[in-house]
C-alpha cells in the first residue's frame, strides 16, 4: 500500500516536471538545429550536429551584452535603493515613536492594493518632464520606493528584542547607529528576502521599459528580448538561441541560491 502510493507520487511529479522542464529542453534542442531540421516533417528530436552558429548569429544581431549590462545596472540600483529606503522606514515604524505614525502607516497600507497601471501615465509624464526618457535612470527612479518592503521589513525590525535597543541607548547610541549597527545585522534574513523579491520583479519588468525607453541600447533584457518577437520569428532556431541566452544565466544563479530564492518568495506568504 505504502509502496504503490510512492509510485503514484513519483509518476505525477514526473508528469509535472516534464510539463515545466520539457519546454525548456525543447527550446535548447531547437536552438542547436539547422533551419531545415526545425521544420522537418515528421518532427525531428535531435539535430544531426549541434549548430552553435545560431548563438553566434543571434548574438551579432542583438546586443545581448549591452542588454545584460543594462539589466544588471537597473536590477542592482533598484534593489539597493529599495532595500535601503524601505529598511529605514521600517525601522522607524517598528521602533520609534513619532506623530502621525499610524496615519502614515495606514496610508501606505492602502497604496499596496492599488494596481500599478494607475501610476504609469503620470510616471511617464514625470520622466518626460525631467528629460529622462530613454535613459537607465528612468527605469530605476519610479521603482526605488517599495511600500511592500516597508511592511515586510517592519516585522523583522519589530522582532528584535527590546533589551538590545535599550542597551545600545544606555551606551549612548544615536538612532542612526542603532539602525545601522545594531538592527541591520539582525534583520539580514528579511533584507535578503526583500532583495530577492525585488530582484525577480525588476528582472522580469516589461511594461515600464517599453513605455519609457525606445532605443535598444537603453533596454533591459526583458524588454529587449520582446523585440526579438515579430522581427524574425520564421527562424525559430535563432529565436530559441536568443531565448536560451536570456534564460540560462538566471537558471545558473538560481541553482546556486535556490534555498535563498525559495525562502524569499515564501516570506511573502507569511502573515505577520
Amino acid at each position: 500500500m505504502k509502496v504503490t502510493n510512492k509510485y503514484w507520487i513519483h509518476l505525477l511529479l514526473v508528469v509535472v516536471t516534464i510539463s515545466t522542464v520539457g519546454p525548456f529542453i525543447w527550446m535548447i534542442l531547437t536552438s542547436l538545429k539547422t533551419y531545415e531540421e526545425t521544420i522537418q516533417v515528421p518532427l525531428r528530436w535531435l539535430p544531426d550536429s549541434f549548430q552553435w552558429l545560431n548563438f553566434k548569429i543571434v548574438n551579432e544581431k542583438y546586443p545581448f551584452i549591452i542588454l545584460y549590462r543594462n539589466t544588471i545596472v537597473v536590477v542592482v540600483a533598484t534593489v539597493i535603493t529599495q532595500v535601503l529606503f524601505a529598511s529605514m522606514a521600517a525601522f522607524a515604524f517598528a521602533r520609534l515613536h513619532f506623530p502621525l505614525k499610524n496615519t502614515l502607516f495606514l496610508l501606505m497600507l492602502s497604496l499596496l492594493m492599488v494596481p500599478g497601471q494607475i501610476f504609469l501615465i503620470p510616471h511617464y509624464q514625470i520622466i518626460v518632464n525631467l528629460n529622462l526618457n530613454d535613459t537607465l535612470t528612468a527605469l530605476v527612479l519610479p521603482h526605488m520606493f517599495s511600500v511592500f518592503g516597508v511592511f515586510l521589513l517592519r516585522q523583522f525590525f519589530a522582532a528584535v528584542p527590546q533589551e538590545l535597543e535599550d542597551a545600545a541607548r544606555i551606551d549612548g547610541c544615536s538612532n542612526f547607529r542603532i539602525y545601522w549597527q545594531v538592527m541591520m545585522p539582525l534583520v539580514v534574513p528579511g533584507l535578503v528576502a526583500m532583495a530577492i523579491l525585488t530582484m525577480i520583479n525588476s528582472w522580469k519588468e516589461l511594461l515600464w521599459p517599453i513605455i519609457v525607453n525606445s532605443s535598444i541600447d537603453k533596454m533591459t533584457l526583458s524588454a529587449g528580448l520582446a523585440n526579438l518577437i515579430g522581427e524574425h520569428t520564421t527562424y525559430y532556431e535563432q529565436v530559441m538561441a536568443g531565448a536560451v541566452i536570456s534564460v540560462l544565466p538566471m537558471i545558473v544563479v538560481f541553482a546556486f541560491f535556490q534555498r535563498k530564492f525559495v525562502e524569499g518568495i515564501a516570506q511573502t506568504g507569511i502573515k505577520g
Binding site: T17, L111, G116, I118, I121, Y179
Partner: protein
C-alpha cells in the same frame, strides 16, 4: 512601561526618503491619473476638461467591453486552475520521497524565467505547422490547431501560458505553508486510522486555508492585470489580438500606442475599481472558509 514615551522627531529623517518618493510617485501620480481620466489629452499633453465623457465613451466601446469580458475569463477560469493545480503540486512536493529536491528545482524554474523568453518558447510550441503540441495531439488524431491564429482558441492558448507561468511561484508559497503545519496533526490522524485522502481533505486543506487565501488574492490581482503574455504572443495587427485583449493591454494600447492618455487613464480607473471590489469581496468571503488558529 506604563509611562508614555516622548515623540522622537528624528524618525522623520528615517521615513523622509520613502515619504518623498511615495508622495511623488504614488500619491501625486494617483491623483493626477484620476484627474487625467476627466480630460481629453492630446499627443503633446494638451488637455481639455471633458468631465465624464471618457467614461461614457468607454461604456459604448466594443473593444473595452471585450477587454472586460476577456479579463473576467482569465481571472474566472485562470485563478481556480492556478490555485487547484498549485495546491496539488505543492502537496506532492511536500511528500517525503527520493529526488524531492530535483523535482522542486524543476518546478521552480518558470518562476525566474523572463516573460519574453516564456512567450517565445510557447509561440514555438503552439506553432500550428511545426509545433510540439500539435505534434502530440496528432497522436490522438487531433487535426492541427491554430492556437494563436484562431480567434476562438486564442484566449485558451493565453490562459494555458498564464497558468503554466504562474503556478511555480504559487507552489513555492504553498509549500512553505504546508511546511508550517505541525506534524502532530498528521500523527493524531494516523493513529485514528485516517487514510491519505481523509488526511488531505480534513487536515491539510483546512490548515492550509490561510495560505490558499493569500495565493488566491495574489493570483487574482495578477490575472486581473494580465499584460505580458498577450502583448508578447499576439501581434497587435491581427484579428486574434481583438479576441485576447485584456484591460491592461487595452490600457497600454490607448495610452501609449494611440496616445489617448485621458481615455487610457479612464481605462485604468475602471480597472482599479474592479480590483478593489473583487478584493473586498474576497476578504469578506474569507470568514466563511479560511481557518486561523
Amino acid at each position: 512601561m506604563a509611562k508614555r514615551k516622548k515623540y522622537d522627531y528624528s524618525a522623520f529623517l528615517f521615513i523622509a526618503p520613502i515619504l518623498i518618493g511615495i508622495s511623488i510617485f504614488y500619491l501625486y501620480a494617483f491623483v493626477r491619473n484620476i484627474y487625467l481620466s476627466f480630460n481629453d489629452v492630446g499627443v503633446f499633453g494638451e488637455r481639455t476638461f471633458v468631465g465624464l465623457e471618457n467614461f461614457r465613451k468607454l461604456m459604448e466601446d466594443p473593444i473595452f467591453k471585450r477587454a472586460l469580458l476577456n479579463t473576467a475569463f482569465y481571472a474566472g477560469v485562470g485563478v481556480p486552475l492556478i490555485v487547484m493545480l498549485s495546491v496539488c503540486i505543492a502537496w506532492l512536493l511536500n511528500q517525503k520521497i527520493r529526488g524531492q529536491s530535483f523535482y522542486r528545482t524543476a518546478i521552480f524554474i518558470p518562476a525566474i524565467t523572463l516573460p519574453a523568453a516564456i512567450a517565445l518558447l510557447w509561440r514555438w510550441l503552439f506553432n500550428s505547422q511545426y509545433g510540439l503540441i500539435n505534434y502530440f495531439l496528432a497522436w490522438f488524431g487531433v487535426e492541427p490547431i491554430a492556437w494563436l491564429g484562431d480567434p476562438d482558441t486564442v484566449r485558451w492558448s493565453i490562459l494555458i501560458v498564464l497558468v503554466w507561468a504562474a503556478i511555480s511561484y504559487m507552489v513555492i508559497i504553498l509549500l512553505a505553508g504546508l511546511q508550517r503545519i505541525s506534524s502532530t496533526y498528521y500523527e493524531a490522524a494516523q493513529i485514528d486510522g485516517a487514510n491519505t485522502w481523509q488526511i488531505f481533505f480534513k487536515i491539510t486543506i483546512p490548515l492550509l486555508t490561510p495560505t490558499i487565501f493569500f495565493v488566491t488574492i495574489v493570483s487574482m490581482i495578477g490575472m486581473l492585470q494580465v499584460f505580458d503574455f498577450i502583448f508578447l504572443m499576439i501581434r497587435v495587427d491581427t484579428a486574434s489580438y481583438r479576441y485576447a485583449v485584456s484591460l491592461v493591454t487595452y490600457f497600454f494600447e490607448t495610452s501609449f500606442t494611440l496616445n489617448q492618455r485621458g481615455y487610457g487613464a479612464a481605462v485604468s480607473v475602471i480597472s482599479l475599481i474592479i480590483i478593489f471590489a473583487i478584493t473586498a469581496i474576497q476578504f469578506r468571503l474569507q470568514k466563511r472558509w479560511v481557518n486561523y488558529d
